[in-house]
Subunit: 248 residues, 2 copies
């Protein structure tokens, strides 16, 4: 473990750079932010104003970390622009992509509600703006407007569902199946079309699906071999046989 611990510390360092954080004055980008997110957008105008008063807008350049494992960060971060990837480092130092946040999604709740140290990292993968609310301010809001809690609970609940589903897949399905299910879920978003645009590169996809880029390459080639899919370009795949894909 000693060797691994050193490894992790190196990784921590590599993974966590807090340079160049840009704070904005109130009321710049975060009006949109509050009215955008499901957890707040059901409120009355004056209530939103109240929230905006305790919210700060912060922007990050591509590659910068919003927070890192073991950070004593005590804020909730709501994405208003850009994309953030949330990942973990395993005990052995491997990177595991958990999810990618888009405008309207939030993160930072682990630091808000649980006391334990965690191993989660958040990194901007493009030019990104977030609204932040401090732990104490958020707790005040949750107590004052209980309907916000219900929204956050709903969001947590679907995240929990998602995470448990993913864990079950890692534990019980082989890589080919996980890839097939991933493709199907990518398709669901943009209904009607049978053409899937991969939301990330193959390296990240491998990390998300708990495998390697080599295996992704090979399995996709196999799926093309059996004519379940057709590889159009690097990021585009046409689904030829959905039932076939689901039977993998």
């Amino acid at each position: 473990m000693n060797k691994n611990k050193v490894e992790i510390q190196k990784q921590d360092y590599k993974h966590c750079s807090h340079d160049h954080i840009h704070y904005h004055a109130h009321g710049e980008t975060h009006e949109t932010c509050i009215s955008l997110v499901p957890i707040f957008n059901h409120l009355e105008k004056e209530q939103m104003d109240e929230i905006m008063a305790v919210t700060y807008s912060v922007s990050f350049k591509k590659g910068e970390n919003i927070y890192c494992a073991k950070d004593k960060s005590d804020s909730l971060y709501i994405v208003s622009k850009g994309k953030i990837k949330i990942y973990r480092l395993s005990e052995s130092g491997k990177e595991q992509l958990l999810r990618i946040l888009h405008p309207g999604d939030f993160t930072g709740e682990l630091a808000l509600f649980s006391e334990t140290v965690h191993e989660e990292y958040a990194k901007a993968i493009e030019e990104t703006s977030v609204c932040t609310i401090k732990r104490s301010e958020l707790r005040k809001l949750l107590l004052k407007y209980p309907s916000i809690s219900l929204k956050v609970l709903t969001e947590f609940s679907s995240r929990l569902e998602q995470s448990e589903k993913q864990a079950t897949r890692f534990a019980t399905e082989k890589v080919e199946t996980r890839i097939a299910l991933f493709l199907v879920e990518c398709m669901d978003n943009e209904k009607q079309s049978t053409e899937v645009v991969l939301p990330m590169n193959k390296k990240d996809m491998a990390s998300y699906l708990g495998t390697t880029p080599e295996t992704i390459s090979r399995k996709l080639a196999e799926l093309e071999e059996t004519e379940y899919i057709k590889l159009i370009s690097n990021k585009k795949i046409k689904i030829l046989d959905l039932d076939g894909l689901l039977s993998v």
Copy 2:
């Protein structure tokens, strides 16, 4: 997939028996129940009474299901006595043990807050009593007493942390490491002692750790070989070298 679908339906049937449900009058076992759980036990006496008024106590025999995947169950279940195992069936019909609930733990929240169908089963693994609250009643309570929401949020948050940690382990660690970490976490509970009492049989442990009973047997034998642990009896293991175990 057709073959698998049939498989799953068979499993559903096998996994779900709703016979012999025993309702109790109010106020029997569930006084203890409300005052027991973290999400309610911080409230005033009269508030607890209010909750008890909308709570029913139900008991289950060993092997009976509290709920099953796709059930339109709309209640929260709080364990007051016994043990419940929560598990999923994978797309291919394999059982995956998610967690075991003890008195004070609750379940059923997926049905309460998220709309999606899910694949989660809850089964009593011994004589068990639960308190149930209907979705609509719980929502009323959450809106009336916002501090309950904060407690539930805290619980969700730690479950989410746990689930993501587990998913990362499945995706990035080999079986031997997962077993070693499991043993260490079993030890944490009963501090001071280096003797671990396994909380489940090896078959369930395999299902929980995403492997097979054969592999569990072999890996434990290997860990004994290297003198990191000593197998005392079927359910008892002595930790000889904690650092060694963590370095696996």
